[in-house]
């Protein structure tokens, strides 16, 4: 299998570094994962009991890590505008509540988001590459990526070709990611593995490593469009791959669980998982994101409860 040295002016995180993009390196690290033990470990971390200051700290961090998302056929400029307002000022009455990390939309909505969030620090993320199935031609994926970045996206969420992956054509998966990465230019690339379609943790680990060696800045669990989305054990397995990749290359890759994370309790469980697997360095929006749409209001409700001692009615939290 071929490998190439890329002097990566493409990777804004490590402008000076040269790293080897090699499929064989990825597959070499792709040892098996024991499902029973991995699920047990994730379940035990989910039992951590977070109270008081540690809970508030975690919830605020969770907000700052959110990719507030709308990915529907019926999305309009108005809908996206409302979402952007919420992203920039989740709780206008409380200045201590941070803005979210990014707004995540379809490519055609990118110009509207760019207008709405200008100067706020909220990033513009967009799915591309034939989202969510990825079943289109590579040159179309590459062009879609290029045009989306040109329209103003800071971050591209691409999907891998699961058909190619499941039929064993790892080379195609690898090369396509590398091409999209190149098309991203200065934009960050998040690679969606769609773990709900990969069948087992061995495959999740393998896909994670292929994505990272091919140039991903982030790896992401799901599109949110299939039956099984992010889970704690899948996230654990992906984080362990990130940890091994970091040891092998020195490169820090981000993690984004997406889909089905709707409660504060679950969000805190993800943060505990992150903290106790990766350590404090990964506790930043630069290296961890939540892909979520309904999580934000639950977190705001919990924060209000911690502040006032009582749960407030849902009517006090905006539906956007």
């Amino acid at each position: 299998m071929s490998s190439e040295i890329i002097h990566s002016s493409l990777s804004p995180l490590f402008p000076a570094a040269a790293f080897r993009r090699s499929l064989s390196d990825a597959l070499e690290l792709a040892h098996g994962v024991d499902a029973v033990s991995a699920e047990e470990r994730a379940a035990s971390l989910a039992k951590r009991s977070l109270k008081k200051e540690s809970k508030v700290w975690g919830l605020k961090l969770a907000i700052s890590m959110m990719d507030l998302t709308t990915l529907e056929g019926k999305d309009t400029r108005g809908k996206v505008f409302a979402l952007c307002q919420k992203a920039m000022h989740p709780e206008p009455s409380d200045r201590e509540i941070p803005h979210v990390a990014a707004v995540c939309v379809y490519p055609t909505m990118v110009p509207f988001v760019k207008q709405a969030v200008a100067g706020s620090g909220v990033k513009i993320a967009s799915v591309a590459t034939g989202f969510p199935s990825g079943q289109t031609f590579t040159h179309i994926k590459v062009n879609e990526t290029r045009e989306t970045v040109a329209a103003g996206a800071d971050e591209i969420d691409m999907v891998i070709d699961r058909g190619a992956f499941l039929s064993g054509d790892y080379r195609k998966v690898f090369d396509e990611i590398a091409e999209v990465k190149e098309a991203c230019g200065p934009a960050h690339l998040k690679v969606i593995l769609e773990t709900g379609e990969l069948a087992n943790y061995d495959q999740v680990r393998r896909a994670s490593l292929i994505a990272m060696y091919a140039g991903a800045d982030f790896i992401k669990t799901s599109t949110g469009k299939v039956t099984v989305n992010a889970t704690l054990p899948v996230t654990l397995v992906m984080l362990e791959a990130i940890r091994d990749f970091h040891h092998a290359t020195g490169k820090q890759i981000g993690m984004k669980p997406a889909g089905g994370i709707a409660s504060s309790k679950l969000a805190l469980a993800y943060l505990v998982l992150l903290y106790e697997t990766m350590g404090p360095n990964w506790m930043t929006p630069d290296l961890f994101r939540f892909g979520a749409s309904s999580l934000l209001n639950d977190v705001l409700m919990q924060l209000r409860k911690e502040k006032t001692g009582a749960y407030q009615s849902g009517d006090y939290f905006t539906i956007d």
């Binding site: 109270k51 106790e276 404090p280 360095n281």
Partner: protein
């Protein structure tokens, strides 16, 4: 009762690189106001709590704070004799004659009452023994109830456990249990004995008698006929009196190999049936094709679970040399994330050492490891100032001949050794007087089967460690003892077949 006061500083240094940012988990203490301990506990004999003949009581403490929890009666030979006579009477007049389905009802009732009172039992287990609340809550107490449930089911089905045989109880059983899993070990011993129709005199460990005495209260509440279960607390002399009593038909002991040998000598030449579950120095063998991150969890769970106070702890880690570097690196990272401190904190992973004596034994053996030239690595966690504590520790560069590779440390201390081939792993793993348990980590199924066949150990775990279930027999080879507890095998020591 006073609440425990432990100075714990939450800290973590996990991950590939640590920085100044620490996420302090605020204390999350299990409450202790939902039950009340008595100031003094007497002996449980003939269905009643009675003062000891010696009129002496000793203090039992919380090893995490060194605070006194209660006074416990010191039973002597007179008390043991009284308990054995009550047990004999209950055996002949009541328990042996009772229809087995009726016996089962009592055992079920005990199981349900343990579940009902599980919260208090978990807290007391943690306060008296030092183990983290998450372990007593999620492992010890539920498993104890599960053992009673499981053996209750056998009580009226003994003829199916031993087909084509006549099954009779043995008689009066003397049972001596250790301090590492106090209530669970009581359940392991009592449940099968009761199901098979025996009556019992139980001697809890000196340092951890409290949950056994709460169990005595449960037994009263379940209205088990008086004398069927008697509990005599005390130290070594009390246990020795029980072993020496001429009217005891069976002795079951769990504890150190040293004491086990003494009991074996004492029982020699008598009619007494004997089962022993003793020490261990279990090999945990990691092959180069193992699922590495899960193997690390298994290693951690294998040695630091219950502060390493586990007879089947995976205390000798055998790593295939080709993966030694990543295993040691990951182990160092993972050990740094273990939260050591107040056992009542729901986020604590490693609690207090059970007693000062045990702490001194661990310290002595660890010093010997350093003196013999092994390289020590300890978690840098802050330890509370009061109570008995030992930081999670492992040694690399350990040879088979080092004391830390041969002797049971019974603490949170792991010895790492290496091997080159499966044959070498087997040879070294079996090269010990013990043989209680073993672990094998590999993705290759055929290798698991081959290793399991050739490892001289009562339990072999594959790609997991420290898993227990009432349906599964547990027991040792060689100096780890004989007889099995758990499963249908666990009934064997408590029946006479004809």
């Amino acid at each position: 009762m006073s609440t425990t006061s432990i100075e714990t500083r939450e800290r973590l240094q996990p991950g590939p690189a640590s920085s100044a940012l620490l996420w302090d988990y605020s204390p999350s203490l299990e409450s202790t106001d939902h039950f009340r301990l008595d100031a003094r506990y007497n002996l449980f004999i003939g269905g009643k709590f009675v003062e000891p003949h010696s009129r002496r009581w000793f203090e039992t403490i919380n090893p995490a704070t060194e605070e006194t929890l209660a006074e416990i009666a010191e039973g002597d030979a007179e008390d043991v004799d009284r308990a054995v006579r009550e047990a004999r009477r209950a055996y002949q007049k009541v328990w042996r004659r009772m229809p087995p389905s009726e016996r089962a009802k009592y055992i079920f009732r005990i199981a349900r009452l343990i579940q009902e009172k599980s919260r208090a039992l978990a807290v007391v287990e943690t306060m008296n023994g030092g183990k983290p609340i998450k372990e007593s809550r999620d492992v010890d107490i539920p498993l104890a109830a599960a053992h009673f449930f499981y053996y209750a089911g056998w009580a009226d089905k003994l003829e199916y456990a031993f087909p084509n045989r006549n099954v009779a109880p043995v008689g009066v059983a003397g049972q001596i249990i250790p301090w590492n899993f106090p209530l669970l070990m009581a359940a392991w011993k009592l449940a099968p004995a009761l199901a098979a129709g025996n009556t019992i005199v139980l001697k809890p460990a000196e340092t951890t008698p409290l949950t056994s005495l709460l169990l005595a209260q449960i037994i009263q509440e379940a209205e088990l006929p008086p004398g069927v279960v008697n509990i005599v607390t005390g130290a070594g002399a009390t246990g020795a009196a029980l072993v020496a009593h001429p009217d005891v038909d069976k002795i079951a002991f769990t504890g150190s190999t040293e004491v086990g040998k003494r009991i074996q000598r004492a029982a020699a030449g008598t009619k007494k049936k004997l089962t022993l579950e003793l020490g261990g120095k279990a090999p945990n063998i990691v092959f180069e094709d193992a699922p590495l991150d899960q193997a690390i969890e298994g290693i951690i769970n294998g040695i630091y679970f219950n502060q390493g106070h586990v007879c089947c702890a995976g205390s000798r880690l055998f790593v295939q040399e080709s993966i030694l570097e990543p295993v040691i690196r990951k182990l160092r990272e993972r050990i740094g994330t273990l939260r050591v401190g107040n056992p009542l904190d729901k986020n604590t992973d490693v609690g207090a050492i059970n007693s000062r004596a045990q702490l001194e034994k661990i310290q002595e053996l660890v010093s010997s490891g350093v003196e013999e030239g092994a390289e020590i690595y300890q978690s840098s966690c802050a330890l509370p100032t009061r109570g008995f504590w030992f930081a999670p520790t492992f040694f690399t560069g350990v040879g088979q001949s080092n004391r830390i590779a041969q002797e049971e440390i019974f603490g949170p201390v792991l010895s790492v050794l290496t091997f080159r081939t499966p044959e070498e792993a087997l040879e070294k793993a079996n090269n010990t007087p013990y043989g209680l348990s073993a672990g094998v980590w590999t993705e290759k199924g055929s290798r698991i089967l081959k290793m399991a066949q050739k490892l001289r150990a009562g339990v072999v775990w594959a790609n997991t460690y420290n898993k227990f279930d009432p349906t599964s027999p547990f027991g040792g080879y060689k100096e780890s003892g004989y007889g099995r507890e758990g499963g249908v095998h666990g009934l064997g020591p408590y029946v006479v077949l004809s």
